[in-house]
């Protein structure tokens, strides 16, 4: 193991001196490509004109424009043509899961749904009465605000839950791998930054192209937008586990699997739960934006209010979203707190 990492780091160092010329070469190629692909009317008649007429140094010349849009569009078309079936498969699967869940919950009588939420909160929070009562009232108030909101909130909830599930299935294993493999982390961190900083609309559009309008692009957008914090916090949680404790597991001959499941994950759980909580909140924020691409749910009430300049309507719908957020937040937080109490029991209370 030691010798492997050794040879690798040696390789990195040797490659370092080639980096600068390589980057310069790539840059030169990019400039040439942009020049050649620019429309003739933007270009000077002769290249030598550039040396006699310096006006191109004033405003950014139109020929110095790297053509990124066209190849991206072409690539996207190719993707849809060649792998359309694949995306259809994902679409059908997610849509099926969403429809199943939504139809089931919408079909249930509303008092039963409220009761289910209360029961869930009660056990998730470790039988805390205060949290349970508050969440119960929040749930009730969603329908109470406007009966139309009830079904719409259920749709939104289903989208968030499915998006979340996707995040958990993908995000937690990635987070764990990141914590174990520094090189993997190094290469993934910029990708996570990218996912978080690209404006959400930018990946709603490819979502529409690949999956059509409706719930599925919203689920995908939720996934892209809210998986980074889960990955980061899982990675952080695992790395923050006391080194000596991990060393102790090693010293007793725990295999990697035993160490992960018996020590690292249980001790990282508070952080992972925090990640899940963040993930839910971001998913909820995203699902409102997703209403702009025709995703049905509580978000389109806000949109409608905006379009009609109906302040009351938008506010009402906004409050419903806040209530939904409180419900999600309280349940996940309370569950996280309970786990934390379990892993880090406080000193015996002295009265």
């Amino acid at each position: 193991m030691g010798s492997q990492s050794l040879s690798h780091s040696g390789l990195m160092k040797k490659n370092k001196k080639y980096w600068v010329p390589l980057c310069l070469a790539v840059f030169a190629v990019l400039v040439v490509v942009s020049y050649r692909s620019a429309k003739p009317r933007y270009k000077p008649e002769n290249l030598s004109d550039l040396l006699s007429d310096f006006s191109w140094l004033g405003n950014w010349p139109k020929w110095l424009d790297f053509p990124l849009m066209q190849p991206l569009n072409a690539g996207f078309d190719w993707l849809i043509k060649e792998y359309g079936m694949f995306f259809d498969g994902i679409n059908n699967f997610l849509l099926g899961a969403y429809t199943l869940m939504k139809d089931f919950l919408v079909g249930l009588p509303w008092p039963l749904v409220v009761a289910l939420v209360i029961i869930l909160t009660y056990f998730a929070s470790g039988k805390k009465m205060g949290t349970t009562i508050m969440v119960g009232f929040c749930t009730f108030f969603i329908g109470f605000l406007s009966p139309r909101y009830w079904d719409k909130c259920i749709m939104t909830t289903c989208i968030v839950l499915i998006g979340m599930l996707l995040c958990l299935v993908v995000g937690i294993p990635i987070g764990i791998t990141m914590a174990r493999k520094p090189k993997f982390r190094k290469s993934l961190l910029p990708v996570l930054d990218l996912m978080q900083t690209i404006p959400s609309f930018c990946y709603l559009i490819p979502g529409i192209l690949l999956f059509g309008l409706g719930a599925v692009p919203a689920i995908i957008a939720i996934f892209v937008y809210s998986v980074p914090p889960l990955i980061r916090l899982t990675d952080l949680g695992i790395r923050l586990v006391d080194k000596e404790v991990v060393e102790a597991a090693d010293a007793f001959g725990a295999s990697k699997k035993q160490k992960l499941w018996g020590v690292q994950i249980p001790l990282a759980l508070p952080n992972i739960m925090q990640g899940i909580n963040q993930c839910v909140m971001m998913a909820l924020a995203m699902v409102v934006i997703a209403s702009m691409i025709g995703t049905r749910g509580i978000g389109d009430e806000v949109l409608l209010g905006l379009q009609q300049l109906n302040v009351g309507m938008a506010t009402e719908a906004g409050i419903a979203i806040v209530l939904l957020a409180i419900i999600f937040d309280r349940i996940t937080q309370a569950y996280g707190d309970r786990i934390q109490e379990k892993t880090k029991p406080k000193k015996l209370k002295k009265k």
Binding site: G2, L6, E247, G253, A254, G262, P266, K342, K347
Partner: protein, 343 residues
């Protein structure tokens, strides 16, 4: 055959340890290597030999490489060069599965900051080694309870580590290490984080346990008194180099260099030196022309502090005897004075 043997072990931390190896073999110091190559020397040509059933104490200041050394034995750290033999077998050649077996059955470790699992109860912590071995739950619980009783923590089985005091936590650590019944016990500054009184208690408890169990113990400490109390042999590390190995008396009487001497300077010699170490042989005693007047008989293994008051009171010569009462040698005031003076 020694139980544990390290042969010419080098450990260098950094990106390309192999490239630094020739430098250190040519005698470059730790500081020079850090300055020139940005590599840290952990161990520099260390060879030790630990016999079965003895307590080997490895002593040095922080940064001297002692924690690195102990981690080579169970391969939590792999050496840059050298051999690590346990029961005569080179453990560096082990594959992953063999290594896990070695750690599970042959040795266990006690940590400075205890290394207990905060999410497990005392009982689960103690049973961890057995859990890893995938022993049935009943056996785990039974062994754990026995060990908890042996370290005097009965009644705390279902508490969590954070509910216990430091001394109690380290007892859990000790019980956990003993639960797998390993031949080798690695103790990395096991008592350093405890306050002096509790540390003393734990040392006594370890000595008592060891007199029953006869494990092979490698004990790391920066405390000379602790190493003199526990060690059958002591190895002193400085900047990754082993500067002296010997019995406690040897180290006190003949420090190998200034570093060891400065360590030994403030030791309470009366507590450490034994009668047999400082006595004159009977021939020398009689050759010096002193007649055998009134003497006190003292066992050869007793410490100076045990008979010093008597000698001072009666101003008489001490006769050192073995268990069967045979004369081994004599101690006069002169020997006492010499052995107790600091230089």
């Amino acid at each position: 055959m020694p139980k544990i043997e390290l042969k010419n072990v080098y450990k260098i931390f950094g990106e390309e340890p192999q490239s630094v190896l020739p430098l250190i073999k040519n005698g470059a110091t730790k500081e020079e290597i850090l300055e020139d190559t940005d590599h840290t020397v952990g161990l520099d040509n260390v060879s030790i030999c630990v016999e079965e059933g003895e307590t080997f104490v490895c002593m040095g200041l922080s940064g001297s490489g002692k924690s690195t050394l102990i981690r080579h034995i169970n391969r939590l750290i792999d050496p840059t060069e050298g051999e690590v033999l346990v029961d005569g077998v080179n453990v560096l050649e082990f594959n992953e599965k063999e290594l896990l077996e070695l750690r599970r059955h042959e040795m266990s470790m006690v940590f400075q900051r205890f290394g207990l699992f905060p999410h497990k109860t005392v009982k689960e912590n103690v049973a961890y080694g057995l859990e890893v071995q995938e022993k049935p739950l009943e056996e785990r619980n039974q062994t754990a309870e026995e060990q908890i009783k042996a370290v005097g923590l009965s009644g705390f089985e279902h508490q969590y580590p954070s509910q216990l005091s430091g001394g109690m936590q380290q007892r859990v650590g000790l019980a956990r290490a003993l639960a797998t019944n390993p031949g080798i016990l690695l103790m990395d500054e096991a008592f350093s984080a405890l306050d002096p009184l509790i540390r003393n208690d734990m040392q006594d408890q370890l000595v008592e346990l060891q007199s029953k169990l006869h494990k092979t113990i490698v004990f790391i400490t920066h405390d000379l008194d602790e190493s003199l109390k526990l060690g059958d042999h002591i190895g002193i590390l400085n900047d990754g180099k082993l500067v002296q190995v010997g019995k406690p008396e040897e180290i006190i009487m003949n420090p190998a260099d200034d570093y060891v001497a400065s360590f030994v300077k403030d030791v309470n010699r009366a507590k450490v030196l034994r009668a047999k170490t400082i006595m004159l042989s009977p021939e020398k005693y009689t050759a010096n022309g002193k007649g055998s007047g009134e003497t006190y008989k003292v066992l050869e293994n007793s410490f100076i502090e045990e008979f010093l008051p008597l000698v001072l009171e009666k101003r008489s010569v001490v006769e050192v005897i073995d268990k069967d009462g045979n004369n081994m040698g004599f101690i006069t005031e002169k020997e006492l004075a010499q052995s107790l003076s600091k230089t």
